[in-house]
Symmetry: C2
Subunit: 215 residues, 2 copies
């Protein structure tokens, strides 16, 4: 068996990184500094280096762009023919807490948050990728605790509800939301209250599990 007769492909890893900030759902985009699509916005990504696993590559990319790790990160879909060449692109998606993310600062490929639903033109078919990820997110919100990855360790039920509303792009009834979430048994009270409010203090909660759990 020779090594030359096995066809190979350039394999790239993309990451769709969502966060919720001031009641808006956002995605991390970078500005391309190279052709093709120079100066266009696109999703962060890069070629799969020799010896890397896909998850390694996605984890590293997420860390490089936002400085966070230990967050929800899951494979999304694998595209062929997304880029200009006949590369294979493995997309991942992640949820990060806007508060703990520290965007990379570099001269080129500057990352920035962009409101979903108000996206600029994106390179390649990256808009489809974001739409697909958004669908997955909405779905997963309904039957898992992924929201743990969008909020700080301790949070109020109102914050949690705002995150849900931003993602689903709807308003939710407060009483029904609280009842539903609390009866799931995935939260616990910390005992403390959020003091910084200029109004009535709110109970703080945290997720029992800081890793994905399906209901």
């Amino acid at each position: 068996m020779t090594t030359d007769d096995t066809p190979t492909r350039a394999v790239a890893v993309l990451v769709v990184i969502f966060t919720v900030e001031s009641g808006k759902l956002r995605v991390l985009l970078i500005r391309r500094s190279a052709e093709p699509f120079k100066d266009a916005w696109s999703l962060p990504g890069g070629l799969l280096q020799e010896g890397d696993s896909l998850l390694d590559a996605a984890t590293r990319r997420l860390d490089v762009e936002t400085g966070v790790s230990d967050v929800f990160l899951e494979q999304l879909y694998t595209f062929s023919g997304l880029g200009d060449r006949d590369s294979v692109d493995v997309a991942y998606w992640a949820l990060v807490d806007g508060g703990s993310a520290r965007l990379a600062r570099r001269d080129e490929w500057q990352p920035a948050w962009s409101n979903v639903g108000d996206l600029p033109d994106l390179a390649f078919r990256n808009r489809d990728v974001v739409e697909y990820a958004l669908g997955r997110l909405k779905n997963k919100l309904a039957y898992s605790n992924v929201a743990y990855s969008l909020l700080p360790r301790e949070f109020t039920l109102s914050q949690l509800q705002q995150a849900y509303e931003a993602i689903l792009a709807t308003t939710l009834d407060k009483r029904n939301f609280r009842k539903r979430i609390l009866t799931l048994g995935i939260l616990e009270e910390t005992g403390a209250t959020a003091g910084e409010g200029r109004h009535r203090p709110a109970k703080l909660y945290r997720f029992r599990e800081r890793r994905p759990v399906m209901f």
Copy 2:
């Protein structure tokens, strides 16, 4: 920009092909004729050839092994490090009607149906791949019409129920099953009845849509 500095990988496509036959859920396996894992069972697959899209490759593989096309075929997951080398393996899964499948006959790599839940030892980590596909199938059965791809064009409600039972590995209540399926509105009566039975003739139904629809 040189072409040599971009690292590339061998990309393979695998297909998990399910069918239901005589009340059992089965998967298509082939016997390997080459090292490594010579003579072990494994999922059908092959390297992604130059110019092929992933879906092309999966479609062709499915056709080669079973002779069917126009069936449910969907991407499952992309693994790295599944094989012995550092290849990237894109898994697909499919549902075929056992009656219309005609297994390939060749001297090597003979394909054969194997009962899920009674699998032989599989090469690489193919057992995990089958398990993952099975989970997806069970799930999708609950909120889509994918079963259209497991049955002939016209079928009785009992056949449909048997398919569901085989997949979910449970028994279902006949009245509840019929009510649930019929109120979904995804079936229509053909007007004909199944005459070949040696008992009471059964109404024949068909799926309104022969392509995936989510509820």
